[in-house]
């Protein structure tokens, strides 16, 4: 079996045994994005105007919530050490970690997001674009997140540091992800926004894993 498949299988098995962790992310996403609707009040126009932004911010924070756990347990119990000395390319290891993170956060968030969009009176076309923008955007969160999680491995107050490190990097994803939905609501073509989001995906799929690999080597030196 390839190292990638082996690791994703193992991570998903662990996630199944710790269902609470995966559920936390989804519950946080639902609660956080619903709080705004409750706080702002039932004004359909106002809700529709802010819906895309709120759902995207909540998704971004929810994805970040689970990032510290990406490498921490393996680091503490010595598995990460074994992954580095194993006759497997480290890139495969990092790619597997990113994929399992996305499967446990990005994927469920993307699938739930249109439902949450409904409570903001988003029209059907905007809901479709929201889904597409999250399909392109959430992998970026996992890839850059891997680099952040690896860099803050073993650092004191790692969680806060992780936020400070990643939130600025997540800004373009948020701007163009939410921007695509707003464009559709204003009768414009979301193509430009989605293309830029795709460009971020391309760049982060190179930068994220490479930075994570280097950071892991340093953390275990």
């Amino acid at each position: 079996m390839s190292g990638f498949a082996l690791l994703v299988g193992r991570d998903l098995r662990i996630a199944l045994r710790r269902r609470g962790d995966a559920l936390n992310v989804v519950v946080f996403f639902v609660v956080a994005s619903s709080l705004f609707a409750l706080g702002v009040g039932p004004e359909p126009k106002l809700l529709a105007a802010m819906g895309a932004g709120v759902v995207w911010v909540a998704a971004l924070l929810a994805a970040m919530l689970s990032l510290p756990r990406m490498f921490a347990a393996d680091f503490a119990d010595g598995t990460l050490e074994q992954l580095l000395v194993a006759p497997r390319p480290l890139l495969g290891v990092v790619a597997a970690k990113i994929s399992s993170h996305w499967l446990m956060t990005g994927l469920p968030l993307t699938l739930i997001a249109p439902l949450l969009g409904l409570q903001y009176h988003l029209p059907a076309s905007a809901l479709g674009t929201l889904l597409v923008s999250l399909v392109i955007g959430t992998p970026v969160l996992s890839m850059l997140g891997a680099a952040g999680a690896a860099l803050t491995l073993g650092a004191r107050g790692g969680g806060v540091l992780l936020g400070l490190l990643l939130l600025p990097l997540y800004v373009p994803v948020l701007v163009f992800g939410a921007g695509a939905v707003i464009a559709v609501q204003n009768g414009l073509d979301p193509g430009a926004h989605l293309s830029l989001l795709g460009a971020f995906l391309a760049v982060s799929s190179v930068v994220g894993p490479l930075a994570a690999m280097a950071a892991l080597r340093i953390a275990l030196d």
């Binding site: 082996l6 193992r10 045994r17 598995t79 580095l84």
Partner: protein
């Protein structure tokens, strides 16, 4: 087979050792000795390729260590490398598959039996005692005959007499078939080896 030349190691800005050199061939047991903090673990992690030496070189089969080296080496460090949520059996299977071994379930069970872990094989690793964790990590050795180089960091720590004997039997057999064992330890555990070398590190 394994050769170190003029090796120096630094941790947190402190020189642990300098000018360390050794050369061991097939069937050799290399014991690394020294007081706490003298750099035994650092030396082993450097040999395994986890840490980079401050200076000096390490060669395996007269070449720089590359991807081939990782296929021919097994490292068991202080941490047992067991995931808390996976069972002992799953952990052992994962470790073996990761190192490229096929998965013979029957043999994995036999290896766990060898270390008296058959009763806890299907228990999540978080319920194990310190000694049992150690045993679970070492059970890999019973199925790693074809991996030539064993790097074992304090393998005897937390083990009882029975497990000690099992481990020394496995190491003796490995050395007899031409394997190489490098271990750090404070305890003198008898291991019969065709050749024994000792590296003593100063504090």
């Amino acid at each position: 087979m394994l050769e170190a030349k003029d090796l120096a190691c630094e941790r947190g800005g402190v020189r642990l050792f300098t000018g360390l050199g050794f050369s061991v061939g097939a069937g050799a047991l290399l014991r690394v000795k020294g007081p706490n903090g003298s750099g035994k673990t650092s030396l082993l992690r450097t040999l395994a390729g986890l840490s980079r030496p401050a200076s000096g070189s390490i060669r395996w089969r007269d070449r720089e260590r590359g991807d081939d080296f990782r296929r021919e080496m097994l490292f068991i460090g202080h941490a047992a490398g067991l995931s808390e949520d996976l069972t002992v059996l799953e952990n052992l299977n994962f470790a073996l598959e990761l190192s490229g071994a096929k998965r013979p379930l029957e043999k994995t069970k036999a290896a766990l039996e060898l270390f008296g872990l058959e009763r806890v094989a299907r228990m999540p690793a978080r319920f194990l005692s310190q000694g049992q964790r150690r045993r679970a990590a070492l059970a890999r050795l019973a199925l790693s005959a074809e991996v030539p180089l064993w790097l074992l960091d304090e393998p005897f720590a937390a083990l009882d007499a029975e497990a000690l004997e099992q481990l020394s039997r496995l190491a003796t057999a490995h050395l007899a078939r031409g394997g190489l064992v490098v271990l750090t330890s404070h305890q003198e555990v008898a291991i019969a080896a065709p050749a024994t070398e000792t590296v003593v590190l100063q504090a």
